[in-house]
Each structure stands twice: as C-alpha cells, then as structure tokens.
Symmetry: C2
DNA sequence: CGGGATCCGGCTTGATACTG
DNA sequence: CAGTATCAAGCCGGATCCCG
C-alpha cells in the first residue's frame, strides 16, 4: 500500500486485524496490565494485586490475549508451588510507551478537561 | 506529588478522573470519531457515514462525552434544516495525535503480532 | 437533518467453586 | 500459587419510534 497516512477511522475497520490488538491494548484491563508490567516483571498474583479490581478470570484472559499478540512473555517454572512470571516483550514495551505517552498527555491536561466539563455542565442543566 | 513518572496502573485508579477521559478516548467509538475528525470538521451524518457501524445513539453519546471533555467542539446553526458541525479542539487534536501514534505503531508491527499469534496457536491446540 | 427516549437481547464481567 | 469452569447479573450497544 502507498497510503501516506492511514490513520483515522478505517484502521479500525472490522476486517482489520489491528483493531483487535488495539482493543486488547486499550481495553479496560489491557492498559492497566501493560502499565503494571512496564515497571518490571511480575507474578500472577502480584499483578492481580497491583492492577486492583481485576478478577482472576479477567487478568488471566487479558494476559492470554496480550501473550498471544506477542506483547507479553510468560515464563512458567514447573516448581511446586508453581511460579509464573510475566514481562513485556520488546514489542510490548514499544506499545506500552505510546500508551503511556497518551495517558500522560491526557493526565497533564486534566485541568483543561475538568474546566471544560464544568463549563459544559453549567451551560446545560445536568449531564 | 514528586513522582517522577506516574504511568502504570494507578493512573487508571477508579478515583482518578483521567481514567474516565481515557475511556472516552480509547473506547470503541471514541477513537474512531477522533480519527475521523482528525481530518477535518464534519456534520453529524457525515460522521455517522464515515465511522461506519456506529448507531445514532452511540455517535451522539460519544460526541457528547468528547465535547464535555473539551476534545470536540460542537457548532450548531439554528437553520432549517438544522446543521451541526463537529471539529477537534486543540486539546482534542493533541490527544488524537498520540492516539494515532499508538495506532500506527501497532499497525506497523502487525506482522510481528500475526506471527506471534500463529506461534501461540500452534504451540497450544486451539485458543 | 440532528438528535432524544425507550425497549430489549447479548456479550462482557464478576463471584464462586474447583483443580493441579 | 496459578489458573479453569460455571453461572447469574448488568451494562453496552442496536433498533425503533418520536420530536424540533
């Protein structure tokens, strides 16, 4: 393809496989998980505690999706009790960095956002 | 606070207002809408056609959330028939740029992702 | 044209219980 | 510890109808 810049709506088109991955990344728990792992390798229950609010099922599911996409590496040791470590792959780190860039940008402008909300809420009655 | 880098999981904490905004941005239709508007101002039904797949309700809802957060500006002309234009605010453009950066990064590595998926699926039976 | 209100089905999510 | 299986609930999102 020679599309110079294919940003925008159509990159999300249903047929586009990247949409799926993007959903894993930006989804409810994907971002949290990526963020937690961005600071270093973690075990399953450590992750569970750090992400806070995630259920075992959702964490497991999220981790599997991210692992399948090659963003997270899973290292299982067949010891007893079992020990499994999760860490970002280089690819995962690249994704996490961009994600964090977005997050920080929004965070840094939250006062603007809050001000905008207040204006909006005052102009119109409620909601 | 003196946290040098507060990325990661806790920026998403439930009490954190930015989590909400992030969800609007990264949500199912938020990204699409931001992407579509990234190319220029659009009317409601134009947007609806370009985003493709979005229902009136969801588009309306998405637009309201983004407007409330100060990312999108709504310009309504009291003509008949009514004409309403939506466009990104400077803040919205900043967010859209980061989002697009993330999207393009993932898109550019989709071959890696696809390869990782294949490896994953072959190693384990199915899913 | 640009929405709001309502209804409703389904997928996602979260407890809980169980396994290795 | 590190998950999987099952099940019920709830919210998301779509279709439809309506209004200005």
């Amino acid at each position: 393809m020679d599309t110079p810049l294919d940003l925008s709506y159509d990159v999300f088109a249903k047929a586009c496989p990247s949409r799926n991955t993007l959903e894993h990344v930006t989804g409810r728990w994907g971002g949290l998980t990526l963020g937690a792992l961005y600071e270093g390798s973690l075990r399953f229950n450590e992750l569970r505690r750090r992400v806070d609010g995630v259920s075992e099922k959702m964490l497991s599911q999220t981790l599997q999706a991210l692992e399948r996409d090659g963003l997270v590496h899973r290292e299982a040791q067949p010891t007893n009790p079992p020990r499994v470590d999760y860490e970002l792959t280089p690819l995962g780190r690249g994704v996490a960095e961009r994600l964090v860039g977005l997050i920080e940008f929004v965070e840094g402008r939250m006062d603007d956002v809050l001000a905008a909300r207040q204006r909006y809420d005052e102009t119109r009655g409620a909601r």
